[in-house]
Symmetry: D2
Subunit: 396 residues, 4 copies
Amino acid sequence: MNMQNPVFIPGPTNIPESLRKACDMPTVDHRSPVFGPILHGALDGVRKVLRQTKGETFIFPASGTGGWEAALTNTLNPGDTVLAARNGMFSHKWIDMCQRFGLTVQQIDVAWGEGLPVDQFEQILRDDTNGTIKAVLATHNETATGVVSDVPGLRKAMDRAGHSALLLVDGVSSIGSMPFEFDEWGIDVAVTGSQKGFMLSAGLAIVGFSEKAIAASKAATLPRTFWSIDDMRAGYAADAYPYTPSVGLMNGLHEATRMILDEGLDAVFARHARIADGVRAAVSAWGFSPCAKRPELYSNSVTAICTPDGFDASLIPVHAAKHYNMAFGGGLGDVAGKVFRIGHLGLLTDAMALSGIATAEMVMTDLGLEISLGSGVAAAQNVYRHGGQAQRMAAQ
Amino acid sequence: MNMQNPVFIPGPTNIPESLRKACDMPTVDHRSPVFGPILHGALDGVRKVLRQTKGETFIFPASGTGGWEAALTNTLNPGDTVLAARNGMFSHKWIDMCQRFGLTVQQIDVAWGEGLPVDQFEQILRDDTNGTIKAVLATHNETATGVVSDVPGLRKAMDRAGHSALLLVDGVSSIGSMPFEFDEWGIDVAVTGSQKGFMLSAGLAIVGFSEKAIAASKAATLPRTFWSIDDMRAGYAADAYPYTPSVGLMNGLHEATRMILDEGLDAVFARHARIADGVRAAVSAWGFSPCAKRPELYSNSVTAICTPDGFDASLIPVHAAKHYNMAFGGGLGDVAGKVFRIGHLGLLTDAMALSGIATAEMVMTDLGLEISLGSGVAAAQNVYRHGGQAQRMAAQ
Amino acid sequence: MNMQNPVFIPGPTNIPESLRKACDMPTVDHRSPVFGPILHGALDGVRKVLRQTKGETFIFPASGTGGWEAALTNTLNPGDTVLAARNGMFSHKWIDMCQRFGLTVQQIDVAWGEGLPVDQFEQILRDDTNGTIKAVLATHNETATGVVSDVPGLRKAMDRAGHSALLLVDGVSSIGSMPFEFDEWGIDVAVTGSQKGFMLSAGLAIVGFSEKAIAASKAATLPRTFWSIDDMRAGYAADAYPYTPSVGLMNGLHEATRMILDEGLDAVFARHARIADGVRAAVSAWGFSPCAKRPELYSNSVTAICTPDGFDASLIPVHAAKHYNMAFGGGLGDVAGKVFRIGHLGLLTDAMALSGIATAEMVMTDLGLEISLGSGVAAAQNVYRHGGQAQRMAAQ
Amino acid sequence: MNMQNPVFIPGPTNIPESLRKACDMPTVDHRSPVFGPILHGALDGVRKVLRQTKGETFIFPASGTGGWEAALTNTLNPGDTVLAARNGMFSHKWIDMCQRFGLTVQQIDVAWGEGLPVDQFEQILRDDTNGTIKAVLATHNETATGVVSDVPGLRKAMDRAGHSALLLVDGVSSIGSMPFEFDEWGIDVAVTGSQKGFMLSAGLAIVGFSEKAIAASKAATLPRTFWSIDDMRAGYAADAYPYTPSVGLMNGLHEATRMILDEGLDAVFARHARIADGVRAAVSAWGFSPCAKRPELYSNSVTAICTPDGFDASLIPVHAAKHYNMAFGGGLGDVAGKVFRIGHLGLLTDAMALSGIATAEMVMTDLGLEISLGSGVAAAQNVYRHGGQAQRMAAQ
């Protein structure tokens, strides 16, 4: 009976029945005519979710980290300088990858819980009159802290600075859950994976490239084969793949985009916001605060919750797994032991969300935190109630 | 996203992953050697759950109502008299079936919410000096009212009365969830289905016969073919079936009994009691009462909850389905509109149970009932908390 | 690796992926609004496959044998006379059921391998000037012998005789695989199951009633509850069911009818005929004959194959299961040991059919029958070849 | 009805039911205690299949091509020289990857259909007195030509030459299907994937490193993050993963190794040899030859079949897919249009193999090749027959 509770980690998310079934395919020949519609169906769907109409989109049979590697190796040269802020574990890791690939990283250190400092980016870019900086890296949603940053603002800052660097965006835990506008925000490379907003298991890295990024790839000399967008492009043109694809997972991705687009992107984002509001209401009822410093930084896909000083927050996911068979996220890096995380992206009904909040209350009480059992639930119930509809029903 | 919430109807229950997979078999030949181990594996497992070592057990490819029909047609003759109490919709329906089959029913009318009146049964049997009564029908757990009756007490009453009638027991919503002792309680026919304590979908009627009931079947003249235990017995002896079986569902039943017996019957019953205690604590926190009149009648598989006078309880499952995609049971028959029901049998974790309680609170509040949001959840959390373990952990 | 070969029994058939997935549902509340569309979707689909526009159709959660019981108990009275021919095991069994239900059977004995003797039926009905005969029972496709009978001819004979008996037809192994016209053929009750032409597992008995049969049900006094069409009708009118339905299997049935109707009934029948032609070509190449005496009796859903005198045909399915993990049908009743059967209904591609034929050849050769390996395959390949298309392709 | 025929491509293979179910998991938290046993279960199982007791084994969430990249980037430096033979499309592609990563490839050109020229390797290594060559690349089974090469002979040649280069082996289409001895053959890096001998879908690259290869990785300067074995090792030590794993697929891999080891490696290899013998008997009966030049080069996982001069073999898979819904492999690179391929690895019963052979016969006949229908089937049946057992049965 291990696997019946929903998970509350910030990805992989709970998987809808229909997507599990779409992925669980018997083997089909990926060199036969069956494959083309699956491939292009997934690509077209993804582009609509990214809101990308220009440039090209690629799907790699790998987990999301591979998407970062595809973004870098297809656009940059050894020794290039990139500009990035470090405001959480995932921005930290991307920076680390850059360094391993021989890139020079101009790093902006930011308190964890803060967003990307747009003004500081602008100043640095203004000062880079030689155009040394080849790319700006931005983590749209820092999964470690539950902070969503102002990517459109960053683009405007780049424009104001008149800088020509590429804008590479990690949208792993935002795309499909929160507004994301590839074209409109002037993004050059967007990276995501199958296991977050697309509600599938891990195994696909999804990367959108602008025309400018594609042009950069012609000259980029970082070595690549598995991550080569040239090989991918050649394959796609023939309804094929440069090596063996994960056909079932791509079929699931096609179906996932159909579900998302049928519901409507705005409705999907509103649903995430509503579920997140309930979680945040619970946090407030417990007397705690999100790690994200200000409301405009609150992520609708994950909330990192600061526990009181002196309490080891890392006990929460351990105790929850052991005694309640429920998965929450722990704190990572600079906030390890200080926060625990409730993921609330992908498939999550009101009832599921309440089960997570209620279990978190039991866990915290077991561990000696002084919260009132049911208090967070009540706060979230007030957010989730369909009282309005009920009253309208009654009035009819 | 319709089917992701757990259900809170008193069967069919939530189905464990492993059982869904055990049922979802490709076609196998039920006349090949593959079938015998599935058939006998299921039968042996069921006998252990029934605690039946004598007599014989049969599995029909039909839903539970068919089990009632198998019980009657294999043991009785047209015109026979049976004794039965009517204390809920399911005892009512079994009586109705008897009448359709030309049996004379001596009916004891009991308030819904009460259990079987053992003393009254005893008196009637004592008075039946001619042995007119051929069978006593007992509904162990009245699913409509959430009342569990004293079947061992009824057997003792029959013994005290020195009456030789058969004891036919409907254990549909008790077997696998609450203590049930086929041998020890002197049961002659026990009826259940796949979709309750066995946590599968509907489609199998499971019926245990004592040696005495089998002896009665030799003379019983009610017509039967599909329900004939003689045909079943002949089939089983050849590792076969008298007609086409539901092989996948029987494979699931085999696996279900393995799960139950691996956990241990006592542990399974304790788990049901604990989950039910939480639900009842919530009911009490809301200021409501179970339909079952006294604690010893409280069912651990379903709770029927009385709502205040003047409130139409039938709105609750309708509103819950419509606005929260969650399934609760409504009131049936004499208690229609007066109660709603929370099923809590089969697979149900603490977190799942809390999601049902929390949703019921929102529904009731939406519909104007004055309950305090989170109050039932808090009461149940106190039952479900693993605080003890946590303290022990801390002490180590 | 037990379950990867296709089965060649005459039902249950191989199940398409999409139908396995349609059946494998999480639990839904059958009293909620989710159920109505599944129920009525399945009923509407079934009616289109039956070609039934009048009367009513019912789906019982039981295997096909139950459908026979529903046909009898809803239309007849104890002691009624029915007219039936016995030309195989399944017609034999239905007659046996009639006798157990206290009906008088006027039985026409026919050699196994022959069809229903329409002229003899006509004569008997002409002679029954008192109208003693209340129903004529006809097995459309005798699964034991692979014989399809002339049901429309039988209806005409009844009409010519001016007899008012009901016409009850067992279409278990014909409906969905061979032409069947409920309305046009003047059928009063048609019985089938989920596990043949509908390509699902066993568990649903499907029964169509004409208006005349429904009228008869008002007066019919055979006892019934589980099989009562009155209870079913009342349920359906409320988008509900008289007891717990097999929701997943009904969802599968809905989907199965959608598949069949999308392909088109004529195309489905033509596909069955083509696959059957290949099997019969193989039989002929082996130098054997079908049990069915004449081509117009050849069934397109199953072929019973006569093996040479002195050979025990029952070894074939046993050897095939043991050494090749493949399921064929054995001979039943009067033809036990004389025939073996290849089922070819439901899902079966050319390649699957050839694998069965090739395996049968190995089995027969292993057992000492003198057939030429590959000979039956070659004969079937000639039937299955798409040479025509290929030539047309080349010509374009 | 698209997906019911087995596939005959040389991977991804047909997937056993039990493995599809093992992969189709609900989401579990890969940072919880549930993950460790899945990870280490898969690793331990893989090591037993590789026959690797020393060094370390890594599983990447990517398709097999990624395994090549992991092999190179963890052991080599930019500018290093590697020695490789080009005898098919997959050896060709690995060489291409080396060049993209800035390695100098000393390439031995070999006719496609030949194996690795062990003597020539030896001579070159003897001549490399400076130790310029850092690694020897060997494709154990060339999937494009159906040629298995003498890897243990190559190791002996390296030893005779007294050369210290690393031996990197592509075992993608041999491991799990044909004998492979990591330890005994002195392999330094072995690469495979989930979608061949392990019978799963694509999505895992599996790489074994010897102690010597691990030592080399400490100094290797090719850039890597996703493919870093250091990050993997650190993760594994904590029962964790450096990024998000494909948990379901790893659970499937664990189960796949359990299946393989339960059957026994020798039995698995014997089964592959027997199935392959049947396919080769069919090829011979058709009057054609394998692309592999000599019997000792014949692969037991795939046969590339030379078609007559003047015939375009690429029509075969196209026609098979279009008219028979069956997947065969086409010719690649130097043998495009000259061969077609029948994959016969992973799950394949006798009956499944015969269905592929029979379908190939129809396709070839449709396309005008003069082969005798049924001839290849008969030849394979003679290989597959269990006549021996049957005779022994009869003798008892």
